[in-house]
């Protein structure tokens, strides 16, 4: 019951926080001055009239004396009202200023580009988490022995080298020289076929290498600390084998900080890896959010802001709730 109330309370807070963040996002992006670029053969009048007709600006006047265009910005609250009206009608708008998505429905593009990003990151997590945890556990159990030293050097190496270099090495060695994989991800939407999966693997490896290092280092540190705790000594004196004590007690305690880390990293990578997606031509959302700000593509920006905000807030709740499952001593919402 405590938990139910706690979840309800958190959901209420989530909605409120979401609304505030979205309001801030809308206001901030609309406060940026509108960039008008006129290219050879284009008529500035048409560009301003388009902005006016879209409801961004009003009172557009060209002054032939000063050769300047003047306009008033439509009040942001008024624009927000229209935006909400559209959203509630299920209209998320169309791309306006990003060259790759002009006149294309924002929602369709988002739905089309999300699967590759999600899949690459799911695969990366599925590969990275067991290997990372395994290496961390092994290193902790072999603390200060040669195995631990080798793993530590490997981890330091992976952490120190930037992902762009790791990606380049993977691409050059495995794709170009050995030709085990294609250089870029295949086109198409048949995501669950072997050729498509194979074409995703170089990006998956490049992404998960640094994750493996992170998980391994963190797990080793946490487990090393737990293994030296007094309750572990008690467990062993009660007659548990080393393996039993490690698996049932040490690992479970060590997972309390590790599990939220996995969750938060997964949420983080949902936004896509700009570098890896660019390198392997993954048609994901990597650059979409950044570009939507750079080019002031309002509808894209708002949809993506809403999505990431929602995912981030939901992940916070899930992480908090997960503590209770991992460690029964933690009770959410209890006084």
């Amino acid at each position: 019951m405590y938990m139910f109330k706690y979840v309800l309370k958190r959901l209420g807070l989530l909605i409120m926080t979401f609304c505030i963040i979205m309001l801030m996002c809308f206001t901030l992006i609309k406060l940026l001055p509108i960039v008008v670029t006129v290219q050879i053969g284009q008529d500035a009048n048409i560009i301003y009239r388009q902005l006016e007709a879209r409801g961004y600006i009003t009172n557009v006047v060209y002054d032939s004396a000063t050769q300047l265009w003047s306009y008033d910005t439509v009040p942001i609250l008024k624009q927000l009202g229209f935006y909400l009206q559209r959203i509630f009608q299920g209209d998320f708008g169309i791309g306006v200023s990003m060259a790759e998505y002009r006149n294309q429905p924002v929602w369709d593009i988002f739905m089309e580009k999300m699967p590759p990003t999600v899949l690459i990151n799911v695969y990366s997590t599925l590969i990275g988490v067991p290997i990372g945890l395994g290496l961390g556990i092994f290193a902790a159990l072999k603390k200060n022995k040669w195995q631990d030293q080798v793993i530590s050097v490997f981890i330091i190496l992976l952490i120190s080298v930037p992902s762009i270099v790791l990606g380049l090495i993977v691409q050059y060695v495995f794709c170009f020289k050995l030709q085990w994989f294609p250089l870029t991800m295949n086109s198409g939407f048949d995501y669950f076929t072997w050729p498509m999966f194979r074409s995703m693997l170089p990006a998956v490896f490049s992404l998960c290498l640094s994750s493996i290092a992170g998980y391994a280092r963190f797990t080793r540190a946490e487990l090393t600390e737990v293994l030296t705790s007094e309750f572990m000594l008690l467990a062993r004196t009660k007659g548990l084998t080393r393996g039993q004590a490690t698996l049932r007690h040490a690992l479970r305690n060590a997972m309390v900080p590790i599990f939220p880390m996995i969750l938060s990293e997964f949420v983080l990578v949902l936004s896509g890896s700009l570098v890896i997606e660019r390198m392997f031509s993954i048609p994901g959302v990597g650059r979409l959010y950044l570009d939507s700000i750079t080019y002031q593509d309002y509808d894209f920006f708002m949809l993506l802001s809403g999505f990431y905000t929602l995912v981030g807030l939901a992940a916070g709740i899930i992480t908090d709730i997960s503590y209770g499952f991992i460690d029964p001593r933690i009770r959410m919402g209890a006084r």
Partner: protein
């Protein structure tokens, strides 16, 4: 019986007549043998793009990136082809293959394609189009295009003239404000196209026709408010809180600064509370008296000078599409009526280059699909939009290829459109052997190169990183372009004085000229670009003034002499030229020797600029105790921009070494301007914009000057340069045309308008029509060179680089020729030879162990 004999006799006569006729026809057929189908390989061309196209709709596309799909989905009424030398066997070999050896260097022909006939109907169109007798006599204003009757969409739906008229109506529909509507009132000036697009909207127009010379006729009404022309004409407004022709400073600023005092000041201050959204109030008799008093004290004493503070609102007329100059008199005929003439036919009635250059096609959309793609305005918007030609489902083609796959942000595929009329044309026999084009988005250059070297791509642009390895490869093709790039220097003193960077010195011409002379352009281009060439003028070597005969503007005596004068050469009485140190026999020799680099003179100019700066420190807002800060601005922090910045920085530091400015110059890099870099430069947010410039308009060098002197085009970087008021005196060359041999004085903008035949349309005080074809070409060239010279001598733009791109093409395909042709390029997909089919290519790559590096670095 007799009847039967008659029948036999008749049959015998018919047979006797028919047999020779059939034999003659057969003989004729033998005289013109069909071109045999050659046994040629066909294959898939795989290419890449760094940015995927998204909107290949002819009516709305935003930039050239979208044309990478669009160009293959549309057709032309007339198109260019190589000129083949009949003496060398003509276009086709006996086996039907293309006779590449017969291609005439630099030659071209213009052939009918989607159209079968083009007629000048200026003298016969309806009187409602209002052509004068003179226009009817000269022709070129109204054209009738007869279409082929077998035009079809890729799904087999027939196309006729009404589809083109429907499309033009959609193109100009004011509800959509389509981006490409302006093509039909700026490039091809279709009658009333602008009025139809602007339908009923209004603009604030200046009262000043020409500074210190001509203003509007104004009349005060009973209430003392001034109107244009008559008492019920457009109301005249005065700028109170916004800038005007007089100055960028508002009138109110003159009150606050104490230039206007007493009752006039009180009046203007009170009116500042009543201004409209544009900072204006109606000009009353009382206000005009105040303005006149101010002008009398501080102005030049010209009649009606007060109007430089004033403007009026002009309302475009309401317009029905039936008044727009395009209609279809019959199912396969289109008539287009223009405001500005185009000479599409030569004297012998054949097609001129202009036909395929300016008037090659009209937009075309598939009506039923287009209608279904229309989207009503969303809440808060009044703009209709369309997603026509933005996805596979919304795309229709009437060109040689059709779209068969599209994934946003990833890839697209074009395949042969079997319903294209062009495949049946004799001119196209045994061509278009590229049956499929696959394009993938690859943003990372290294990825693209690995893909190319492993046989996954069939061509790649040569970049700075790879230029040393591949520039001499036998697979590399070089092509000149029209792009002209350089440095733009911000020089608006009003802004420089207040920008906090203490760099008013940029407003001194000598300083800007010193920068120009300090730039070793050959070294700069070799260091910072792949294969671009040095440029000293505003126009590069790819601009043709006489297309039919290959006349290049840059090679003319006028263009060369103009540059010589700009870079400090002078002509002696005997026709020799000198740069102060050396003397050259003639302009050709001097031009060959000129490189625009003179560091010694540059240092002298730095000294003189510094002297001017310190002696007039207050005027230039200069503080000698602070460094002079020059801000190099750019859109993004990339290797290329960093490399460019480092070069410019070092060049400027070297320039001031040993001068009074040594140690006082501070140059910094700012890459925060993003997509607003051009707007920000024009506003003075930074001082040096490098690698900026323009391209296009290869056959119109005079028109290209709009980028530098036409404020209305909205392209000028030096927006502070008031070309509409800066006067130029020039004597037009002798000849038989209006203005010939006369010494004329007019604004630079007016000169430009006359040169391009648009002075009347632009309401300029002098309305000479010196457009192409209306006066001798030499006279136009001399004036074009003069305007280029005047512009360069401002040193707002410092020309450095002329576009010259390089492409490495893989072994799978070969262009028909390695000689670049301005019309045909290297022949494109149309003439491309397929060396390996797709399966053969897979084997070829496997035979090379998946790495073609050694093959592609071969030099022969």
């Amino acid at each position: 019986m007799a009847k039967n004999w008659k029948k036999v006799a008749a049959l015998a006569i018919v047979a006797a007549m028919a047999i020779p006729t059939v034999a003659a026809l057969a003989a004729c057929k033998e005289d013109e043998p069909e071109i045999p189908t050659a046994d040629l390989k066909q294959g898939t061309y795989r290419t890449y793009t760094s940015v995927m196209p998204s909107n290949w709709n002819e009516l709305t596309y935003a930039d050239n990136n979208d044309t990478q799909i669009m160009n293959y989905l549309v057709s032309s009424f007339y198109e260019y082809d190589y000129e083949f030398d009949e003496a060398k066997g003509g276009k086709y070999n006996e086996d039907g293959t293309i006779n590449a050896d017969a291609i005439v260097s630099g030659g071209f022909t213009v052939n009918y394609s989607a159209a079968t006939k083009l007629e000048d109907v200026t003298s016969t169109v309806d009187a409602k189009w209002g052509y004068t007798d003179e226009q009817k006599a000269t022709g070129g204003y109204a054209w009738k295009i007869t279409l082929r009757e077998d035009l079809k969409w890729d799904d087999g739906t027939p196309i006729d003239a009404t589809d083109f008229v429907y499309t033009m109506q959609q193109q100009l529909d004011p509800l959509f404000q389509n981006m490409r509507a302006s093509t039909y009132y700026t490039n091809i000036q279709v009658k009333n196209a602008r009025n139809y697009v602007y339908n009923g909207s209004e603009a604030l127009m200046s009262c000043m026709v020409v500074a210190q010379e001509e203003y509007q006729t104004v009349v005060a009404d009973d209430e003392g408010v001034y109107h244009k022309d008559t008492a019920d004409g457009d109301v005249i407004y005065a700028h109170i809180t916004t800038g005007s022709d007089w100055s960028a400073d508002p009138l109110l600023a003159y009150v606050q600064a104490g230039y206007i005092t007493g009752d006039a000041a009180a009046l203007i201050t009170s009116l500042s509370e009543e201004v409209n959204a544009d900072g204006c109030v109606p000009a009353t008799v009382e206000l005009v008296e105040a303005l006149e008093a101010f002008c009398a004290e501080y102005g030049g004493g010209y009649e009606n000078e007060w109007q430089e503070f004033c403007a009026y609102y002009y309302q475009y007329p309401e317009m029905d599409f039936s008044e727009v100059g395009m209609y279809s008199p019959s199912q396969y005929e289109i008539v287009v009526c223009l405001d500005a003439p185009i000479q599409c036919l030569k004297e012998d009635g054949s097609l001129s280059y202009e036909a395929a250059y300016s008037f090659a096609s009209l937009p075309l959309v598939k009506e039923d699909l287009y209608e279904s793609c229309k989207q009503e305005p969303a809440a808060g918007s009044t703009l209709w939009t369309t997603n026509y030609n933005t996805s596979l489902a919304t795309t229709a083609s009437w060109g040689p290829y059709k779209l068969t796959q599209f994934q946003s942000g990833k890839s697209y595929t074009l395949e042969r459109n079997d319903n294209w009329y062009g495949y049946a044309l004799e001119d196209n026999a045994n061509q278009y052997n590229v049956t499929k084009i696959e394009c993938e988005q690859i943003a990372e250059t290294n990825t693209a190169w690995m893909n190319f070297l492993s046989g996954g791509l069939d061509s790649i642009g040569l970049d700075v990183t790879h230029k040393d390895d591949y520039r001499n490869s036998k697979y590399t093709y070089f092509a000149p372009g029209t792009g002209s790039y350089g440095l733009n220097l911000y020089a608006n003193l009003d802004v420089l004085k207040t920008n906090g960077r203490n760099n008013g010195i940029l407003a001194i011409r000598d300083f800007r000229k010193a920068i120009s002379l300090s730039l070793d352009r050959d070294d700069y281009n070799a260091t910072t670009t792949t294969s671009h060439q040095t440029l000293l003028g505003l126009l590069g070597p790819a601009y043709y003034y006489d297309v039919e005969n290959g006349g290049v503007y840059r090679d003319t005596v006028y263009a060369k002499e103009a540059l010589l004068r700009v870079y400090g050469f002078t002509e002696n009485a005997d026709g020799s030229w000198t740069d102060g140190t050396n003397t050259y026999v003639d302009y050709e020799e001097a031009y060959e020797a000129m490189n625009g680099y003179n560091p010694t003179l540059a240092k002298e100019l730095v000294e003189s600029a510094y002297k001017e700066l310190t002696e007039n420190a207050e005027y230039y807002g200069y503080d000698d105790s602070k460094p002079i800060h020059l801000l190099y601005g750019t859109a993004a922090d990339k290797d290329t921009t960093r490399r460019d910045f480092e070069y410019i920085k070092e060049m400027l530091e070297t320039m001031v070494e040993g001068t009074s400015l040594e140690g006082k110059l501070e140059i910094t890099f700012d890459a925060s301007f993003g997509s607003a870099w051009a707007t920000d430069f024009r506003a003075g947010a930074y001082d040096i914009a490098s690698g900026t410039g323009f391209g296009g308009g290869a056959f119109d060098p005079s028109g290209f000057l709009q980028c530098y002197v036409d404020p209305e085009a909205g392209l000028m970087y030096s927006t502070w340069w008031d070309t509409a008021n800066e006067m130029l005196t020039f004597t037009m060359p002798e000849g038989d045309y209006a203005g010939a041999g006369e010494e004329l004085t007019m604004s630079i903008y007016n000169w430009y308008c006359c040169l391009n035949g648009i002075a009347e349309a632009k309401n300029q005080p002098k309305t000479y029509n010196w457009g192409a074809g209306f006066i001798p070409e030499d006279a136009r060239l001399e004036l074009t060179a003069k305007l280029e010279e005047v512009t360069l001598e401002q040193y707002y733009t410092i020309a450095c680089t002329s576009e010259y791109s390089a492409e490495v093409t893989g072994a799978k395909f070969t262009y028909i020729t390695d000689e670049y042709n301005i019309f045909m390029g290297f022949g494109g997909y149309r003439y491309m030879t397929v060396n390996y089919t797709d399966s053969e290519w897979t084997q070829y790559v496997a035979d090379h162990n998946g790495d073609l590096t050694s093959e592609y670095t071969k030099t022969n």
